[in-house]
């Protein structure tokens, strides 16, 4: 019997072959790797090899003061860094019981939505890159820069802003910034229709994305697929609505839903949410209250957080990003666990979903699922 088994193993060796999809593969977003076992052109087995971006954040935050960590954590999720500061700040506020001024809440909302739009633009470009429609990547990355310029004006940095702090935001909005933001939003609105023509109404894109790795509702819930991807399966759940944070409870917005759950639905869902984010920013600009932007907080160097633990999750473009923070009452966090938005999709669900797909679908599947390696490597 064992001889037969070894023979079958040998046979397997000849029938199948391995492809290394990443880390330095052009289709791979970031430094991550799938080792794919292929037979013919069809994937038979997929084995993720993560950890290439591991920096040990969970350990590092334990070694720094509560306030110092603000400069560290944006680096957990690179395409959409602001979300990290927001989660961290909200968690600290919840543990300390601090009320954040309303203006700061609105500014946070705008920042988060801008980051979200930036991430969506990144995602559109990713779809373009994965399918060979490089024009889309060129356009979206250039348009993303308008947002980055605004960030730079507001915070002084292009990518890692460290703008949202426990108790509010770092500083108030400079003069003329909101007007410029409105202009940019209008511009992006106009560009969105261009993207429709280039990407979403492009028959070949539709052909490529249709029936690409359809996700069922049960799978989505069970495998922890979140954010736009779960809404693409038809589950109308949005953390911004269900467990509101920042100023989302004061701003009226619709949660779009798709039903098919396949690649096309996921892509279209992100396009719709892009629209929603633009609307939210517009409304936030209109409703922007006056007032201070920071609650009174203790001296950052001596700042202690009461004993307790909290789990805070926020909606991001690639799913629910969440921290579980434990404080033992000292000046440093006792433990912080990071739930990356695409941990389950990229490491677990991929092993199930990609089997039976073709080689050319891997990059596209990753683009539509928004697999973001830094947030599960931590």
């Amino acid at each position: 019997m064992s001889e037969i088994l070894t023979f079958m193993g040998m046979e397997d060796q000849y029938k199948k072959y391995e492809l290394f999809f990443g880390p330095n593969h052009p289709g791979m977003h970031g430094n991550f790797s799938y080792i794919i076992t292929v037979e013919g052109h069809t994937i038979k087995k997929i084995d993720p090899d993560a950890g290439l971006l591991h920096r040990g954040f969970e350990k590092l935050v334990e070694q720094r003061l509560w306030m110092q960590n603000i400069s560290l954590i944006p680096r957990i999720c690179v395409p959409e860094p602001d979300i990290n500061e927001a989660i961290y700040s909200i968690a600290v506020e919840k543990l300390m019981g601090v009320e954040v001024p309303e203006r700061a809440q609105y500014i946070r909302t705008i920042i988060l939505e801008m980051a979200r739009i930036g991430a969506f633009l990144f995602g559109f470009g990713g779809i373009g890159g994965a399918t060979g429609l490089y024009t889309a990547s060129y356009w979206t990355f250039a348009d993303r820069d308008y947002l980055l310029d605004l960030f730079e004006w507001l915070t002084g940095a292009r990518i890692y802003h460290m703008f949202i702090l426990p108790g509010g935001v770092r500083r108030d909005i400079p003069n003329g910034w909101l007007e410029k933001l409105s202009e940019t939003v209008d511009y992006l609105q106009k560009r969105l229709y261009e993207y429709d023509r280039l990407i979403y109404n492009n028959p070949l894109i539709v052909k490529r994305l249709e029936n690409l790795g359809p996700v069922t509702q049960e799978d989505a819930m069970k495998y922890g697929i979140t954010g736009p991807n779960i809404r693409a399966t038809g589950i109308k759940y949005d953390t911004r609505k269900a467990v509101p944070y920042a100023a989302y409870d004061k701003i009226d917005f619709e949660v779009p839903v798709q039903t098919a759950g396949d690649g096309l639905a996921r892509a279209v869902q992100k396009r719709e949410e892009f629209q929603v984010s633009l609307d939210i920013i517009k409304k936030a600009i209109q409703q922007m209250p006056e007032g201070s932007v920071r609650a009174k907080m203790p001296n950052p160097l001596k700042f202690r957080v009461p004993k307790g633990d909290v789990y805070v999750k926020l909606e991001t473009a690639h799913g629910e990003h969440a921290y579980y923070i434990v404080s033992n009452g000292s000046d440093k966090p006792y433990r912080m666990a990071v739930r990356g938005g695409s941990f389950t999709a990229g490491l677990v669900y991929a092993q199930k979903a990609l089997v039976g797909m073709r080689i050319e679908d891997v990059a596209l599947w990753m683009a539509t699922m928004d697999i973001c390696p830094p947030d599960f490597d931590r």
């Binding site: 993560a50 040990g56 350990k59 495998y223 467990v243 633990d309 739930r339 490597d377």
Partner: protein, 161 residues
């Protein structure tokens, strides 16, 4: 179901467990180590579909590891942290990968960083770290700075580049 009803149900079935409410959308349940699979399957049954994360906390003073299973329900919009504590010297607990497939990867992660054994989960190949020979890095008694200095060196200006 309201949060109150869920808590009542849990109390009914698991009288030993302690429940702590954080706010109207989040509460935690502290259960016994041996109960953990039962309580999690019970939670799954009453509508907590998503296992958001499994994490561990190293309470080194108590000589305990606290395991936190973070569940979420799309039907009740409730976040629940199911916690349990295990001995730090012999960290071993039943795997829940039969309930949620994602647990496999989370447990592998926790195993790698805390050295906790999960019986029933066989695939414990190192996922993140490369050629790790020291004690699991997330344990409180592991000194990251010292390790870094030891192996990667510190920056000296005198060295020629």
């Amino acid at each position: 179901m309201e949060q109150r009803e869920i808590i009542l149900k849990i109390k009914e079935n698991f009288s030993k467990s302690e429940v702590k409410v954080f706010d109207e959308k989040q509460f935690s349940v502290f259960a016994d180590k041996d109960d953990i699979v039962r309580i999690l399957s019970f939670m799954q049954m009453i509508g907590f579909q998503q296992l958001a994360i499994i994490s561990a906390v190293d309470w080194i003073d108590e000589k305990k590891f606290e395991l936190v299973y973070n569940l979420f329900s799309y039907t009740h919009i409730q976040q629940v942290l199911v916690k349990t504590k295990i001995e730090r010297d012999n960290p071993k607990i039943q795997s829940v990968m039969n309930l949620w497939e994602v647990a496999q990867m989370y447990e592998r992660d926790v195993h790698e960083f805390f050295g906790i054994e999960f019986s029933g989960n066989d695939d414990m190949r190192p996922l993140i770290l490369h050629n790790w020979k020291d004690k699991p890095p997330m344990r409180k008694d592991f000194d990251s700075l010292k390790y870094s200095n030891e192996i990667y060196g510190t920056f000296k200006k005198s060295e020629e580049v």
